[in-house]
Assembly symmetry: C2
Homo-oligomer: 427 residues x 2
């Protein structure tokens, strides 16, 4: 699915043809989106899955209401983290028995980073530096800072620019670096980092790597095991459509799994949780990444999104995603050429995630005007309008209509109204 | 509500009269319980609240489905931890702006214990011992062990017997003790610890205290602020009926709040989370106890249980709870007298939570037989049958019927069948 000579020949009806020919078109029926809405924020919160309300009803009425306490066993609640973990593994290239769904991304990063630093501390105690992107999602940076401060053992979090990462850490990789924590896709710009070559560069430097897949899982092909990565974390509520704040995941390579030791060692990670022993002993395998009792309604609803992602060929998703973003970028550059817009998402497919980010000096007001029209993207300081492209429920015509709406708003300065300047919290 | 000369005069019709006169009887309609079931495991997982399925439907269809990303603001998702925290505060005697609902009990204990040890380390660096009950819920012990190991700074977790706690720590409180972490009610025996005198004894010894209210919040009167406690944590899915695995809470005294510093410093705890700064700065007030994005469906459903508990006079709940357990204990002792049963729950009201635990050599098989009859308690090693008494939906007749069923099972050795000996995971 490529779009030949986009700007020269393309019009709305050509986009409609592309949608008709779209192999993924049937997947739109797996989601329920409001009418008159173009939803381009699936990179922040994925859309409602078709069976979500029914699944919640089933959990609440049958499993909780009727099964009551017995449902921890009979409805498989206790096994949901591992069951859903298998489904995530199928999407991100993890091996069987390598992944669980639990807690939040931030908590899982704390577990993974703690475990990694402990391993490094035993093998190479002089390594005390943690590298991460300055533009990693801030929560990751804050968690690493919190961990380093708590360890109080000379650990230091150093921030590097994206270019330093893509160049293979020429200025930052020293024999003091213990761990590198990297977002797979820059949440603001949409830049994608190559997992395999980056992992190799980090390992060559003697450091370990944790990948944050929040902005890539479900949007593109990921081969965690094949890339040689050490650990990974990510959320299920963006491109995996798990629902608001649905639980996160953590993956650990087979090689490291049994050496994984984490401080959030709650009873769900115990070898024999129901023996109620006062002595901690970690479970063998993936249960040792767990901590405490999980929110079963949110977790159960999340499974539907994972099932959808597991049922689709991720190569096809990626192909359509790139076609959508190619189209978006091309239309912005040709049809909005006279406006002070800059495309900040990389043009090279190899460096592009599943979103297009553009800047405009009045970005906030422009996005506010667009949202008022039912075209939902979001805004990130400074000046960035983000448009997430979720191939399972977004089509080419919607990209066309979005850029046309932008053109109308910019050509006619429709953003320049008082109500579009009011800043609230934009998530 | 006292039961005069219980065993002498009481029969089932007297229990029915007690139920008719019960001031809390109307609250039973706030829950949906399956027919032909006596549910005595509300101390482990509370019952289904009446509006839970509708609330989940609303969150999924309207807030997620239609509101989409906008609901973080328009539906108040981002404010749910603080909003629900206020409701918990109203139940456990916390001040306004002292409590949030977030994460799991284990995670919140990690935050609270980390913060407390950091405070103590600054004030009294020679204090390196953490005391907790040997029979505290094991996850609390494991989390403390995980924290002590991670800090790797001479910290040690010491386990003490319940008697040592009730006696005011005569043998364990030294000037090396930094922190005491106590369950308010022993999950196995149902023993209640006096919060005020125990807190005073701990403070007199120069240590700080964290109370775990998992087995008391919603079951009895708690006055956290009045007791002088430092911090508290607890779950919402037992006596607070929040739903399976619903999120936990954390309370910090007003005095300590602004000194509270925790390592799980994710973006939800940041002073300005949407500025996406790479530098962490904790929020003023309770938001600094937060970490990452919360499961909104589970959290929203939990609110209903909190609303019920907030709408009832906790003194009335406590009075009925004690009347129910008085009756239970009395009936066991009079009507099951010839069987090898021991009541392990304390007789003194001041030392009793909202459950009755008894032992029988064949406890597992007896409970299995009882559950098969639709009377749901649970079993804990070794030999303990637990019966949770939730005054909002359990009546006196159900206590009568339970003991009569036990009598039938024991008199006729109905437990002695192969199917009752099969041990699975019992939660």
């Amino acid at each position: 699915m490529t779009i030949p000579e986009l700007s020269a020949t393309l019009d709305r009806s050509a986009c409609e043809r592309l949608d008709r020919d779209d192999d993924l078109r049937a997947f739109r029926d797996e989601f329920i989106l409001p009418p008159e809405t173009i939803y381009l924020d699936g990179n922040s919160l994925g859309a409602r899955t078709k069976g979500a309300a029914e699944r919640a009803q089933e959990v609440i009425a049958d499993e909780w209401g009727t099964g009551l306490i017995r449902s921890w066993n009979t409805a498989g609640w206790f096994d949901l983290p591992a069951k859903l973990g298998e489904k995530v593994a199928g999407i991100v290239g993890g091996e069987t028995g390598s992944t669980v769904v639990t807690d939040t991304t931030s908590i899982n990063l704390f577990k993974a980073a703690s475990a990694a630093l402990k391993m490094q501390s035993a093998a190479a105690p002089e390594r005390r530096i943690i590298l991460t992107q300055r533009e990693n999602f801030p929560s990751d940076i804050y968690m690493l800072q919190g961990l380093a401060e708590q360890l109080d053992d000379g650990y230091e979090v150093r921030l590097v620019d994206d270019e330093e990462v893509t160049a293979g850490f020429p200025n930052s990789m020293t024999d003091e670096v213990a761990l590198v924590v990297l977002t797979h896709v820059n949440y603001r710009t949409g830049r994608l980092f190559d997992m395999e070559t980056t992992t190799s560069a980090i390992h060559a430097g003697g450091a370990m790597v944790i990948w944050d897949l929040c902005h890539s899982a479900g949007a593109l092909e990921i081969d965690l095991a094949g890339s040689g990565a050490d650990m990974a974390i990510g959320c299920t509520y963006k491109f995996l459509n798990g629902g608001p704040g649905s639980p996160a995941f953590i993956w650990v390579s087979e090689e490291l799994q049994n050496g994984f030791s984490q401080p959030l060692s709650g009873w769900w990670s115990h070898a024999k949780p129901f023996e109620m022993s006062p002595d901690y002993a970690p479970a063998e395998g993936i249960r040792r990444y767990l901590t405490g009792t999980q929110g079963i309604v949110s977790m159960s609803v999340a499974e539907l999104g994972l099932d959808i992602a597991n049922g689709v060929d991720m190569a096809t998703v990626r192909q359509k995603s790139l076609a959508l973003s190619d189209l978006f970028i091309d239309l912005v550059e040709t049809r909005l050429a006279e406006h002070p817009i800059e495309v900040v998402t990389p043009r090279e497919h190899a460096h592009r995630g599943s979103q297009v980010s553009i800047t405009h000096p009045e970005g906030f007001a422009v996005m506010s005007t667009l949202i008022e029209r039912g075209i939902i993207g979001d805004y990130r300081e400074p000046s960035v309008l983000r448009f997430g492209l979720t191939p399972l429920y977004i089509g080419f015509t919607e990209v066309w209509d979005t850029v046309e709406a932008l053109r109308d708003i910019l050509d006619n300065r429709l953003w320049d109204a008082p109500q579009h300047q009011v800043r609230g919290a934009v998530t």
